[in-house]
């Protein structure tokens, strides 16, 4: 493979690893640096905090289990946000879609618990997908057919979902024998199998849905880059007008992408409700939907990137709770600060370092010959 000589005047090509590895890494470092400053302000040692964080996330088998359990949620929401991004849509509503997906899971686990386990599990997953997709369908439809801006409608739908959840848990699904707003516990035959019940490891919330998330990541790759649906979604995302001329319906694909997005977000309910809590509770979505945006941004909407970013945020969640225990001046909100800074640097300020890094790379990789000056 002979290297093609670049045409005169065109800037030399920047290799992929600069864009896909170096730039995100620099953004991450900047976010960690600022977080370190915050830790100094608070009065602790940032180096020590980082050590605690990494040990708390990966240092012992139980920690790894928890980290992967959080990672599962972030894979779901990351993929959800990513498929919307591929269609040029910004789905801020993963939080609400996850909550409604959880309702679907809970309904199956509450009312179909006479079925055998091998039937309940796929049924619950299907319900999560249908409920999540239905909740995302409305903003998708409104964007496609009535031109309402998806960012605003999905924000509104998050609040509406929160109200629906409160209503359901206070008035309808509440455990008649309980006081707090939550449903009765599911019977054990509807639970997803835990990892610790199958292989030899300490008790952690890690369950079957982690494997499911990995399978879905593979499916996501196949769907987006190797099927007609994925192709059409990407074309609409790149240029709606061009898509229209090519005979691809933007409206249909916008709705389709949003529904797949909602379905993916809904699977958070499978992990949380069927896998861990074993009952429907309020606020089980815990901000996973919002962090999904960061995961998709950092992972460049590619399943491998999303997995790595989800792992990073999973580690942050798990290591962060350790941080609150170990360090005297840090409480668990510190993790939210780090998260926010990562979103800031890898999302909003993504164009800050890139030109400089690219220029530096050019200077190092393609030094100007002396006579050219």
């Amino acid at each position: 493979m002979a290297e093609k000589k670049p045409k005169f005047g065109t800037p030399p090509k920047i290799p992929g690893w600069v864009n896909y590895a170096l730039v995100p890494l620099m953004n991450l470092l900047a976010a960690l640096l600022i977080s370190g400053v915050v830790i100094i302000i608070v009065g602790d040692n940032p180096i020590e905090a980082l050590q605690v964080l990494v040990y708390g996330a990966f240092g012992y088998p139980e920690a790894i289990g928890y980290t992967l359990y959080y990672t599962t949620n972030f894979i779901f929401t990351g993929l959800a946000v990513a498929i919307a991004f591929h269609c040029g849509l910004f789905n801020i509503g993963a939080e609400g879609q996850a909550a409604i997906g959880g309702v679907g899971v809970a309904l199956v686990c509450l009312y179909f618990d006479w079925m055998p386990t091998w039937l309940v599990i796929p049924l619950a997953m299907l319900a999560a997908a249908i409920f999540g997709a239905a909740w995302a369908y409305i903003p998708g439809y409104l964007q496609a057919k009535r031109g309402s801006h998806i960012v605003i409608t999905t924000i509104m739908f998050n609040f509406i979902a929160a109200s629906v959840m409160t209503y359901l848990l206070v008035e309808v699904l509440i455990d008649p024998n309980g006081q707090s707003p939550e449903s009765r516990s599911f019977i054990e035959s509807t639970w997803l199998p835990f990892f610790h019940s199958v292989i030899d490891m300490p008790r952690t919330p890690l369950n079957l849905s982690f494997i499911y998330a990995l399978v879905l990541s593979g499916g996501f790759y196949f769907l987006i880059w190797h099927t007609r649906w994925g192709y059409e979604i990407r074309v609409v995302g790149q240029n709606e007008t061009a898509a229209g001329y090519a005979g691809i319906s933007p409206a249909k694909n916008i709705i389709l992408a949003m529904m797949i997005s909602g379905a993916l977000a809904g699977f958070v309910g499978v992990n949380e409700i069927q896998g861990v809590q074993h009952r429907l509770i309020l606020d089980f979505t815990g901000g996973y939907g919002f962090v999904g945006i960061a995961v998709a941004l950092m992972g460049r909407n590619h399943p491998i990137g999303i997995f790595l970013a989800a792992l990073l945020f999973g580690a942050l969640y798990q290591g962060g709770s350790e941080l609150a225990f170990e360090m005297k001046n840090i409480n668990k909100e510190m993790v939210i600060v780090i998260q926010g800074l990562i979103i800031l640097f890898s999302g909003a300020l993504e164009h800050m370092f890139r030109p400089k890094i690219e220029a530096a790379y050019r200077r190092i990789a393609f030094p100007k010959p002396a006579e050219a000056r």
Binding site: I92, S148, I152, T153, E333, M334, V337, G347, A348, H351
Partner: protein, 323 residues
Amino acid sequence: METFQIIVLLLDATLRVATPLVLAALAGMFSERAGVVDIGLEGKMLGAAFAAATVAAVSGSAWVGLCAGILTSLMLSSLHAYACVTHKGNQVVSGMAINIVVAGLAPTLGYAWFRMGGQTPALNGDSRFRGIVLPFAEAMRDVPIIGYIYAELISGHNIIVYMAAAAVPITAWILYRTRFGLRVRAVGENPHAVDTAGIQVDLMRYKALAVTGFLCGIAGTYLSTAHGAGFIRDMTAGKGYLALAALIFGKWKPVPTMFACLLFAFTDAVQARLQGVALPIVGEIPVQFIQALPYILTVLLLAGFVGKAHPPKAIGEPYIKER
């Protein structure tokens, strides 16, 4: 007389709830009219609320707290401008990042500084904005109807409520009657034309976002030093998003936006009273439905079922000069 009193008290509560909404929605108006989406209203308010409560607690003066609140909010909105105007970053992501950072930072600092689980010490005396009794309020109280309205509804609020009331006509005047306002609107509608006329688009957007920061700072300060007495975690509780909804519901215009804020605040005030009360015809309305009503209304408006909202044309797009 009984119903009359209840209505006046409801409206009184409405004003108190509406104040931060009006200020934040007007803040959002400057930003969005200049073409910059701002879902970071929530974060700016929360940041200002924390800074104001902290400084007021330490200094003992609510006014110094107000300055700190405004300063903090200004810093956050400059960060937003730096990300979205200077570096052409995604405006929604930037706003969100600000919301998340502040939601974490305020309790983190609060915990480290005050050791009260992320809260700030309770404020009292001069470290809070207290109600102002307007002249003749007590003397007028006995005058039927008007006197009671004057004494209960109009008099007795803190200074920020009156600031918010004044902010509406001032904003309308700035946006529609001054050169600055014309340029802000132009930058949001057609930045290329503005650039051709020799006005710096980026600078205009920075200025508009500075006004946004200023107003959000007052709104946040109101929450922690006037309405409440100290900072509590997540005390904005979605008010920034509600203000955004009001801004859209008011079709990005000052007076309709104010009415949207009042409507949303009124549903909030009514909701507390309607709990468990069976209404004629419809029966008992779930509280959650009333809570969700502002959002449902906004979605319906956006969908074009209730009027039609026309956002500023260049909203959400970073301005890139053609070369």
